[in-house]
């Protein structure tokens, strides 16, 4: 039972808002776009799927990439599967992704090195995630640092 998400729709609402901010961000979005890959995030509890396209030119002006909430037909270059709650804490900067992989909490496949290269790039987004939650009136989902 997820600590943070009621269901997939709830997750899509939060990540949709967050990714909209990230992929428009002139610093983070621009750097992410240089990765030139399509990433599929698969979540468990609740089961959900989000694809981020950093390969094809974004159709929406002002965006450095596109994202799709739910299953889509794009063929990913790399995929990552993890519990939704783990991802929620990760976007707060509270989970060590290497430890997650070592312990088998996160599974990955495809061009994983390309995704790892994104880690330093997305680090500033850890500050945006709680801000996004606050803006959505979801302060209770903000995870405090120990």
């Amino acid at each position: 039972m997820s600590q943070y998400y009621k269901d997939a729709a709830d997750l899509y609402k939060i990540y949709g808002y967050f990714l909209d901010r990230v992929l428009k961000d002139d610093k983070i979005g621009l750097k992410m776009s240089k990765a030139g890959i399509i990433i599929k995030f698969m979540y468990t509890d609740p089961d959900a799927e989000i694809t981020i396209d950093l390969k094809n030119p974004p159709s929406k002006p002002g965006y450095y990439g596109a994202f799709y909430l739910g299953p889509c037909n794009l063929k990913e270059d790399v995929w990552s599967k993890q519990p939704a709650d783990h991802s929620h804490r990760f976007w707060h900067g509270l989970e060590n992704p290497i430890a997650g992989i070592t312990k088998g909490i996160i599974k990955q496949g495809g061009k994983v090195t390309a995704m790892l290269k994104l880690l330093p790039v997305i680090k500033p987004a850890f500050q945006l995630f709680p801000v996004a939650l606050k803006e959505m009136g979801l302060d209770h989902l903000i995870v405090a640092k120990k």
Binding site: I98, A99, T102, T113, L116, P120, K123
Partner: protein, 624 residues
Amino acid sequence: MNGNTGRIADINLTTETVKILQLPEETYRRFIGGSGLAAKVFWDQADFSAPALSSEALLIFMNGPLTGIKLSGASRMNATARSPLTGGLAESSCGGYFPPALRLAGYDGVIISGRAKDPSYLLIDNGTVTIKAAGPLWGKGIPECTADLKKTYGKKSTSLVIGPAGENRVPFACILNESHHAFGRCGMGAVMGSKNLKALVVKSGTGEFCAADPERTKSLVKKLTPRIKEYIISQVLHDYGTSGNLEGHMYEGDVPIRNWTSNFDEEMGSDLTGSTLSERFLKRTATCAYCAVACKRIVQVDEGPFAVAEGPGPEYETVASFGCLLGASDLAAVCKAARICNDLGMDTISAGATIAWAMEAYEKGHLTDEQTGGVPLRWGDMDTVVHRILPMMASRSGKLGALLSMGSASAARTVGCDSIEYTAQSKGLEAPMHDPRGGHGHALAYAVSPRGACHVQTAMHFMETGACNYPEIGFEFDLEALTHDKKADTMLLATAIGSIENSACLCQFADRSLTLPEIVELINAAAGYGYDIGSMMEAGWRIFHLKRCINYRFGFSASDDDLTTRLKEPARDGDTAGIEIDFDEMKTGFYELMEFDPARGVSSREKLEALGLKEEAELIWPQT
């Protein structure tokens, strides 16, 4: 005996005699092999009053029980001596091709004592050891000497070679195999040079690896190989080399910049990281024997002042020590500096760190033009570093060459002005390029490591970064990098695991994904030690405590388990800025857990006896 050959060549260069040392199987089991077995031989045979570069000093090369099993990362080798840089126990680990060649030639290791009358090299040909005159090989750079030896003894021969720095006894001189794989740290090259020994050559080894359980060994290799290859760290290493995550490490405050005065330079991180190296200069990947990971880089810089022909490229440590640490973002210059160090035979960490210290000393006015002989030392001036300073250091020529060839700690003591405060070292060994302020466990690991500041003598580096999980011994928790919390307890486990890895001669990159039960199974299948996790861990602790005893006999005490001010003061920028390291708390906790005497820094009699080190306990704690 299985796995191991049971034969160690014991060579005295003064008397020109070769004996075969055959240790009891139980000694192998108790000390695993590699680093542990070499420490035991050193303890038993060394003259502790002999200076590091005296003819009486020992130089030991030792394989592990897995060397030759054709598994990625399982065929490394240890070198042990007294360090000319620190005066204490010297250890270094090297992959490449020499370790399995030596095993297949019939030896687990080589002990070298004495001093050859004239420059010489050792030739090992299927069990026969001959001392040969080095003649014109003496004075040559490592690649040229290596090529000459290969020409003489054939393509299948492989050698360990020193360069001019080793001949000149630069205390951080290294030894290289195939001009690429290094016994980098602690000055093993100087020890070899002091013995008038230019090289060890294995001409041919036609023996076979005789496992205790050949079928089980074969099936384990088959099972583990794809997993090692697919492990995420292996993939990063394969694609981008050991500097693959330099940029990421910079965000964690792990990468030291401009002599450890900064930890964050986004542009520098991007300019120097492994993917940039691959994009700009990579010609192909290379590997150690039997390894599917292939983290080694073969690079070429086509043009410019730092052009280098196709050949070995820099590792992470070299990129950081000749790039970030010197305030230089020019990757071509780093490739050139690395190549010169390989040619002359110098450890890139100590060389880069010593130059970085000198640059700060020059900036502060502690090191004057008069003292440098007019050579300017400015951040990022790689032209001067590459074309003037490195050759001077290796030849120990000129005022600056003589000063910097001593290493940072001795050079700082010579210069004075409290410049020792901004060296970055422990026990005289320059710290590797992982900033303890970005992971406080590193501070403890560097300080208590027997060889001096070192991130691979224990497993703390990988445990703190989350790359390890050992539920069988209770390590299944995440560590907070920027606190002292749980670091002493973790270090207790890290000492045993690091000793096991270095004694089994496992690569800490390639074999990172191996579990403890798998390591037990591998050692048992290959060497028939009959370990369970408990007895293997006990062997690891036995080895670590023995090394502490060796250092105690060299005069080290608890006060030497420390770091310089620079490494303990809070970082000045980046995410780790301003955070204090609670070093004393970690050290006190660790001392208690290890049962170290708080003043002497050596294990208690009871602890030594409990680990089966009775004779050692008698020597350390004589009963009156």
